[in-house]
Symmetry: C3
Subunit: 360 residues, 3 copies
């Protein structure tokens, strides 16, 4: 169960080529994504109304999507605009999905078009500020999207899954604090006077800071629906103010996670890191991406096997410890919004009483 | 749904080795195919009556099929003829399928044996005439066999799927004409005064004809049940008579397509080309086979993805445009014959009334 | 259908690393196997009670199993013994399976713990006697475990499946004799005055015996539940006493087969050979293992395809010839024990009548 009335990351801009559309299933909807002549992004059902071929196997002719089977030209609203030798007025319309390009991502709304409002897209300050840079990647993982939310909202797993890079035993020892504000869930953990693990030693050196002294370290995970998790992470030399230390005395960044369900049991996982130091240094962006990709790749097998285990033992209840509070509260937010979504759908199906009596 | 009372191509003669049988599923029937001592072809259920091992994992001993597990010797009518240390009279008979070798192919009849008549095999004139040569290959494709019939009965797809070889925009511009005569469906398209695409330029040069002048081009697709499509294709220098030009003034051939269902959603696709020029030139046969194999390979992914799309949207109706008339009429022929096949089966199951009263 | 109240080989000792547990499904039960600090073997459900991750993805810390996701420490009885920052008393217990290490194998009891008695483990004399050596390997095969029992209890297949190593036509000619004693089934075959096939020629040479003279050959297959097959095999120079010839006049060994069901249609097949000559010669052990592995690998495809055939034709009865008597009787033993196992389970669920009347 996932929310359909929400903006999800569908792909990154570089995945849509000028001449070649992209086929991708998002929240159970097979979509074809491409850019029209004016550069704007379109998302349609990946189904040619002529003979059912995937439109994503076609090509773009001056920004018009052409089916690769018999040359049907599809308009960006899902209405066929032409086909060699055919009158196309009566062709059935295929579904189009609201799509926008913003913050360095292509976003789609797989649910009810009437509800799709660009204003509902989260504001990502770091994505618009030239003082920040972002780099990241994409993994396809065969697990329920909520397992990934759990994963990101409980970073005690770093000690075990990422022992050689960002894990350290002091994570286990510092209890997280979880709060919920509206639809947002925040889990934060502060470690004081600990030695930095390898990843953070590297980051300190990158800032010209000593890497062999104790630091204060923080992790502030923020879930927001439908399935985004932003994590403020950083270290400062111990006693210099920690999270609130001046910029030149700390190394910090934001781990950026957009989790897009493909099906009930698979996801497109857009991971990345936003930083506000040396934003122009593309080589640094690449180095960080490579390191982060390796670290995040360590979660893949575990999540996929966890998924298979939960499918094999569907009736077994999982524990909800204090460290799980972030995931548990996030799931509650999702449950509440899902209930609202269902209610909103069923309300619309009810014949208003007033009309009913008029009709009688 | 496919016809079972029909001759299908099971394999090419070279696929049956002297010492090794071939296992292949045809119209849902798992068969073992081999050649007996007198050289004739046999098709049996691929199931050893002893312990159920596939007989196709066995071997041939002087033309007798021997199970590779415990040495059971299977006769070509499905009756066990021997087994070391055993009396085999009481062994259950396995099903045998009528099989004939003709026209350079092995044909089987997966349906009712009583209906199998070699005379029902289509006559293939080019296969018997020494003035003709044939070369071809085999693809396994995961799609309903009717999608391949549609594909071959509507060559407008050449413009898109085979753009760099046989496609040209004039195909789209020349409306096809479709007729139906008995069980045969014919779709023909004539293009006049067009420049030949790369494949045909090569063919013209092969005939010693200029390849840089306009030509008249034709495509005459003939469907016949259960699922054969023969396509007369060719070009002649423009104005010299087109399809009816004298042999020395044109380059022409027959595209030969035998589509054998494996299951409801997969096929064995025997493709090839028959030509009546330089029939003795085996190098040319190879060159054509290679070129054609490459072109026909371009359809594979599209057909498989179309199949998956249709399975995902089972209730969606497809368009039936004029260009689709060939496929649409072919499907109608198949539907009619399927209905006859079903009726013939149910008729046979009815206890005749006369007998019933005699019994009372 | 397989017996659950029985000792099965789970793995060999080398598959359990000091720092890394092993995940394996046995009789439908997903297990994690490892060795505790005292060196004893433990088998638990492969399911972390915290979030359902497979414990087999974790690691061992001084003989304690630690979940690789969040560091839960699992005790060897299935009770959580610790977790960073958590009180674990209330954590649900996961199932533990009786496990013992003996005879060079790790054995588990996937059924009712109350019935698990180490005394029920078969005695394997060759495994404890320093005059014997054993070498073997493991294959994963997608077939019902009973197909492998059939295979091993009817060695006429050697003539066909293993024609180039241990097969010879005289096997077919010597009728086997099958008897059943309690739960054990014995099929024996004696061939007199036959030329040894390649494998046995090699073995004779290894014993310093002439390999180009006629021999008496024997095969004595012993099935015992749940699914073990031990086969005494050997050759002696003809007329020197055969099976009862003095040790220095024959080459003989025991083929050791432990068949552990993974699911209803797949097995872990532990094969090997025990010999009582040159037991200290590890190079010979390796040579025999390599040869036997190659021979036994010849059965894999056949068994997997037989399984697929039987699944495709579920209603077809198989023949039960004299050569099949070993498998047929073995299946009868299994059926009888399965019925007892079912009865024992249902008995335990019945409220005793005496108690019922007391309560009223």
């Amino acid at each position: 169960m996932f929310l359909k009335n929400a903006w999800y990351v569908a792909c990154t801009p570089d995945e849509i080529k000028d001449d070649k559309p992209l086929g991708r299933k998002i929240c159970g909807e097979s979509m074809v994504l491409y850019r029209t002549a004016d550069g704007s992004v379109t998302a349609l059902e990946d189904f040619c109304p002529h003979r059912g071929a995937p439109l994503s196997l076609g090509f773009l002719r001056n920004g018009t999507l052409v089916c690769g089977y018999h040359g049907l030209e599809m308009g960006c609203a899902g209405k066929t605009t032409g086909m060699p030798g055919q009158r196309v007025n009566g062709f059935p319309t295929i579904r189009s999905f609201p799509a926008i390009e913003k913050y360095g991502f292509i976003w789609v709304w797989p649910g009810d078009r009437a509800e799709a409002d660009p204003a509902k897209l989260h504001h990502l300050q770091w994505a618009e500020d030239p003082a920040w840079a972002h780099g990241g990647g994409l993994y396809h993982i065969r697990c329920d999207y909520r397992l990934m939310i759990d994963n990101l909202m409980d970073l005690t797993h770093e000690t075990y899954v990422h022992a050689s890079s960002i894990g350290q035993k002091e994570i286990d020892e510092a209890a997280p604090k979880t709060t919920s504000v509206g639809d947002e869930v925040i889990t934060s953990r502060f470690m004081e006077n600990v030695m930095p693990p390898p990843f953070w030693r590297m980051a300190l050196r990158g800032h010209g800071l000593a890497d062999d002294v104790p630091v204060d370290r923080w992790q502030i995970c923020r879930f927001s629906p439908p399935s985004h998790v932003m994590i403020e992470v950083g270290v400062a030399h111990a006693g210099k103010g920690g999270y609130n230390a001046p910029a030149e005395g700390k190394a910090s960044s934001i781990v950026v996670d957009f989790i897009t369900p493909e099906t009930e049991s698979s996801i497109w996982y857009f991971w990345g890191m936003a930083r506000n130091f040396r934003p122009e240094d593309k080589e640094l962006t690449d180095t960080i991406r490579e390191g982060q990709g390796k670290i995040f790749g360590e979660d893949l097998e575990l999540l996929e096997q966890q998924q298979r285990n939960l499918e094999a033992w569907p009736d077994r209840a999982l524990l909800k410890l204090n460290i799980d509070a972030g995931g548990v509260l996030s799931r509650k937010v999702i449950e509440r919004l899902l209930a609202e979504e269902r209610k909103s759908q069923s309300d619309r199906k009810v014949i208003p009483l007033a009309n009913a009596s008029e009709a009688s």
